[in-house]
């Protein structure tokens, strides 16, 4: 009898108790980091090696197709990649095809150390291009005919970097930082299929399983998976930041979910079993 009550109680617990539990689990590693090891996946390493091997002067595009809501994962990703890019003799183009992007791109550009790099010469923020799939296709086709000014209002003619940025054939590597599976697919359709551009999908974790087949088929150059990918990249480039900081709390909270699912199901089946016995 006592056992039945326990199962019953377990099933009816106030969710607010669970919320408090989660808050505690998240706060502990933030105050006292545990420093659980982060294994590096082959996908992340492939991106790092590719950036390292790019010939000097190559154009790298970072498409900020993200939003405020997804910034918690896309932000660390974008910053980890940008930090590394700024250390290399590369030309960096920030652009976005989702309305929230240019501002967040600007924010990332402001937050990362830029070394000797000069705006307009080594890097640029081209702002927002509307039209979704159409905007992406038009950008790959001819950048300068499409856009006439950057996000800060400078005409493109005044930006020396733009001499090297004409169309998709100039993009040595193309990153997208996004929460949208559809955005990644648009690049597969509009940049990879026609121009064989090397597209790297910096996508939030939940989108990864849906884009893996494109990676497997060679249509995506690589995938940077959520904040975990950001953490891995930070470790590879020896500049630990937000991604690494997130990792412990992520570990513990995910573990909490696993435990809750197991206990919840145990309560459920315990209840079911009890029901069956009563019927007898």
């Amino acid at each position: 009898m006592a056992k039945e009550d326990m199962w019953g109680k377990l099933g009816r617990i106030d969710p607010r108790i669970l919320y408090v539990l989660l808050v505690i689990i998240l706060i502990i590693p933030l105050i006292a980091p545990i420093g659980l090891p982060i294994p590096i996946t082959s996908e992340t390493r492939k991106i790092y090696d590719a950036v390292e091997k790019l010939p000097p002067g190559s154009v790298v595009v970072c498409a900020m197709d993200t939003s405020g809501a997804a910034w918690g994962e896309n932000g660390p990703q974008a910053k980890a990649i940008l930090r590394h890019l700024f250390q290399k003799p590369l030309k960096i183009v920030v652009v976005s095809f989702e309305a929230d992007g240019p501002m967040l791109g600007q924010r990332a550009l402001l937050e990362v150390p830029k070394g000797e790099k000069k705006y307009g010469v080594d890097y640029v923020n081209l702002g927002f291009v509307a039209g979704g799939e159409t905007g992406r296709a038009a950008f790959g086709r001819d950048v300068q005919k499409l856009i006439s000014k950057d996000f800060l209002g400078n005409p493109l003619e005044k930006l020396p970097i733009m001499e090297k940025v004409r169309n998709a054939e100039d993009f040595a590597l193309f990153f997208t930082f996004t929460s949208l599976i559809s955005a990644v697919e648009m690049y597969v359709r509009q940049l990879y299929a026609p121009y064989k551009t090397k597209v790297v999908a910096g996508i939030i974790g939940l989108g990864v399983p849906a884009v893996v087949p494109y990676y497997n088929a060679g249509q995506l150059f690589s995938i940077l998976s959520g904040s975990l990918g950001a953490g891995e990249y930070e470790l590879l480039s020896k500049m630990p930041g937000e991604g690494v900081r997130l990792s412990d709390a992520l570990s513990l909270s995910t573990l909490l979910v696993v435990v809750l699912i197991v206990v919840g199901n145990a309560a459920f089946f315990g209840d079911k079993l009890r029901g069956k016995e009563e019927k007898r």
């Binding site: 099933g11 617990i13 969710p15 669970l18 919320y19 539990l21 989660l22 659980l36 090891p37 982060i38 294994p39 996946t41 939003s67 405020g68 809501a69 910034w71 918690g72 309305a99 240019p102 501002m103 600007q106 924010r107 923020n125 291009v129 509307a130 039209g131 979704g132 159409t134 905007g135 038009a138 086709r141 001819d142 005919k145 499409l146 800060l152 209002g153 026609p194 974790g205 990864v208 399983p209 849906a210 893996v212 087949p213 497997n216 975990l228 992520l250 570990s251 513990l252 909270s253 995910t254 573990l255 909490l256 979910v257 696993v258 809750l260 699912i261 197991v262 206990v263 919840g264 199901n265």
Partner: protein
């Protein structure tokens, strides 16, 4: 004039633009390819007008709420319109990339929207406990896979059992790819049929 008002004109425009864009992909005809490149840029311009329209129609809804003084609602809508106006004013003066508009954007918009969606993290916790059940064989399989993946994602998984990271990676790379690929091919076929239907004018929902 009455001919122009007909829906068929718009259907014809859709079909014409669509067929040109498709032909451009498969045929190497310089005249066509240049024309379609221009058409795409036109599309981008029209799309930004639609974005503009979307914002303005939303503003109209809130103006209406304020005008009618809808109970429990109009105060909020007034505040919304006010903030919208402040943002517009600030970015007209200091530029969209200027420090004032960035301040509002970062500290109000990004802070709120990221919090708004992060609340879901809490709900995941309560739902995992209270509703997610291995009620069928399929759901059981799903949950077993999910647990392995979660343990793989958490660096702690490898510490619990060394095989977890490798097993998780295999699941993502092999079974996940297989099923997801079937799903994608099916999705592509559905999208193509829907696309054909749109271009031949049998799907006109967008022309309301």
């Amino acid at each position: 004039m009455s001919v122009l008002t007909r829906r068929e004109i718009a259907v014809f425009m859709t079909a014409f633009a669509g067929i040109a864009v498709i032909a451009d992909y498969f045929l190497k005809v310089p005249v066509l390819n240049t024309a379609v490149a221009d058409l795409l840029r036109w599309g981008v311009i029209l799309a930004s007008f639609l974005l503009l329209w979307g914002t303005i129609s939303m503003l109209r809804v809130h103006v209406e709420v304020v005008r009618k003084k809808t109970p429990n609602q109009w105060h909020y809508s007034t505040w919304l319109i006010f903030l919208m106006a402040v943002f517009v004013a600030v970015s007209l003066v200091g530029g969209l990339a200027g420090s004032q508009s960035r301040w509002m954007y970062d500290n109000i918009y990004v802070a709120c929207s990221s919090t708004y969606y992060s609340v879901l993290g809490f709900y995941m916790i309560s739902a995992s406990y209270r509703a997610i059940r291995a009620r069928t064989k399929e759901a059981t399989l799903l949950l077993v896979v999910a647990v392995i993946i979660m343990l793989m994602n958490a660096p702690i998984g490898g510490a619990i059992w060394q095989g977890i990271p490798a097993l998780g990676k295999w699941i993502v790379d092999v079974p996940n790819t297989g099923a997801s690929r079937g799903y994608i091919i099916g999705l592509a076929i559905g999208a193509v049929i829907l696309g054909i239907r749109t271009l031949i004018g049998r799907e006109r929902g967008y022309l309301s």
